[in-house]
Symmetry: C2
Subunit: 369 residues, 2 copies
């Protein structure tokens, strides 16, 4: 099948580049003795999850119980790196089959109480990692004393089992080569956390961390045992701009068609916010909402829902209506969430496809209209 | 069913508010003798499309052939307000059943040639409206001479039928009460266009226009015959801020759960970019990515994929982990595109639900993994 047989906009993944990315990250983790637990929010696909497990991933990470119910098809060791709060979500979490090891990452006694009550109800052990704030100020307990108290609260509530600590350094957005100062603060913070738990008689078996911008420097954080990168499987424009991958490591692009060249100096493609998302280049230089795979200096400068405006002011290239282009999105995890199917390509051929099973929210039951 | 039985984040629509919105717009169109052809990109739902047609809509507007194949369940008169370019898209367009009247809005001879060839192949008449640029500089021919030439090109290519002209004043983003100058320029531009086509012997039977910010002032544009508003059915924070609806006309909200209050001065909810989109308040004042339905001064100030940060600095309210809130998104059309199911509510009860059939791209055929 050739590209022009596809209805655009449509997501393409270069199979060879993806395989390279998967191998490179597993190789990094193996070299440094780190458990790799890839975050599946990026691909939301059983097919890709299995490729990660086959290469040696210790398990998979999910953001939601819905993702966990899908990813149990790929592994028997799941982390939901998110406080699971509310009856409906807890019920879904405990619908994961019994032989799957479950771990939940949380930061409040309320979340512990709800999880413990559900675990008792379902008579099922659940591991817990307590999240402390490593500087992002999103979730995670700011005070290490409070974090230790939460761990004690977990201990007091079997069948919950305290298994360690977790952090997410999402505030570190510097390019890879200028992260030294931020990483030094993070090293210090993680060391303090390990020390606090050890002194409290609860040395953490698991120290789980890592983010995409810091992914290749995780081994510099003393004591870390596990990393949870997501984006590396596909990569995107932001990852390339900050130097966490090369441009040719971008496996994912959105195939689009030029639909109008009426307004001089621009070309309009059929990929807008509903195909690319509206994600800025956080922590990286670069204007626009995506760049052409084959012409990275041509960017999507404006968007409507189904229109993307290619700014041609810096290029001699003048595409015709009907011509196809491939756009590397700024943030691939959002684009995955917009699509139900991914097409795998090799060179100019479409050779396979796979469903994005964990897209959406998995509301199976409708109540009648 | 009560709200706390739902798994969050989940989209809710207040049924009474939606009915009010539908009635108000149809009433406006009827009073001014305008054909109402609602844009279905906002709801992507057969159920809502039928509600629009039942109240008197002349037909429905779609952005893509995929949307058209879904909306043929609700009407036998469809406009695709978008250049349909490429074999796969054209094949999908012509898969709409024969008794449905089709119209396509376009702005290039290439798009006419492709559409004409497909129409001949399928032996099917297709109406065409030529889009001219009314100031937005997105699609639409800037020169009215060129627009007239395109209409002649349509005439020369039966079974295509030239049916009129179209524009989209998406550049007018002023609040409703300060649109006078922009509307005056638009009135002038539309009058010029009608004159140019009339002088060329092709007086346009259809003059199709309108946008959400200008929707209640469409009748001030002399010669307009048809309006294509979309957002009015649900409304959103932007629509309210620019005064095109009242806050209580916002029918749509995302029900979310507070999952963390660890960091002082904020509460974290489980609705982030994958539930709300990342759409700024274009043309309207207002920070953040959404506001609470019951506390509009509390906004979502930061987001990650599955985290929304409620800024509590301007509020005495301190929610607990587990508490539910309803977020009115900045731009509802994006949120619809993220969801497969909408839940209809009345007061605190969930009383119905409907599928978002036209979400996604409708790739039915997978090629084997």
């Amino acid at each position: 099948m050739t590209f022009d047989q596809l209805e655009t906009p449509v997501p393409l993944v270069d199979l060879d580049v993806m395989a390279h990315n998967l191998d490179a990250m597993q190789g990094y983790a193996d070299r440094h003795g780190l458990a790799l637990r890839p975050h599946t929010k990026t691909h939301k696909s059983v097919h890709v999850g299995r490729e990660q497990v086959r290469r040696g991933a210790a398990g998979l990470t999910c953001a939601t119980p819905h993702e966990a119910t899908v990813m149990q098809q790929a592994t028997d060791d799941l982390l939901v790196a998110y406080p699971v709060v509310g009856h409906a979500k807890l019920d879904r979490l405990f619908s994961v089959r019994e032989d799957v090891a479950l771990r939940v990452q949380l930061d409040s006694s309320h979340a512990i109480d709800e999880l413990a009550a559900a675990a008792v109800r379902h008579d099922r052990a659940v591991a817990v990692t307590v999240e402390f704030d490593a500087g992002m100020h999103r979730v995670g307990v700011p005070s290490l004393d409070d974090a230790v108290a939460l761990a004690r609260h977990v201990h007091a509530n079997p069948p919950l089992e305290f298994s360690g600590i977790a952090f997410y350094p999402g505030h570190i957005r510097e390019p890879v080569t200028s992260q030294d100062a931020a990483l030094e603060r993070l090293r210090h913070r993680v060391a303090e956390a390990i020390e606090a738990f050890t002194e409290a008689g609860m040395p953490p078996a698991v120290v789980s961390g890592g983010s995409t911008p810091t992914m290749w420097r995780s081994h510099e954080i003393t004591g870390i045992t596990e990393i949870r990168p997501g984006t590396y499987v596909y990569n995107d424009r932001t990852t390339a701009e900050i130097g966490a991958c090369a441009w040719q490591d971008c496996a994912f692009s959105v195939l689009a068609t030029v639909v109008s060249t009426s307004v001089p100096g621009q070309a309009v493609i059929d990929a807008g916010t509903k195909a690319l998302g509206r994600e800025p280049m956080r922590g990286a230089s670069g204007e626009g909402w995506g760049a052409l795979l084959d012409r990275p200096h041509v960017v999507v400068s404006r968007m409507s829902e189904e229109h993307g405006i290619l700014d041609l002011s810096g290029s001699d290239w003048r595409p015709q209506v009907g011509e196809q282009v491939r756009v590397v999105p700024n943030h691939v995890c959002i684009v995955t969430h917009l699509n139900d199917v991914i097409f795998g390509v090799r060179g100019g051929d479409v050779v396979t496809s796979w469903p994005v099973e964990a897209r959406g929210r998995g509301y199976g039951q409708l109540i009648g209209v």
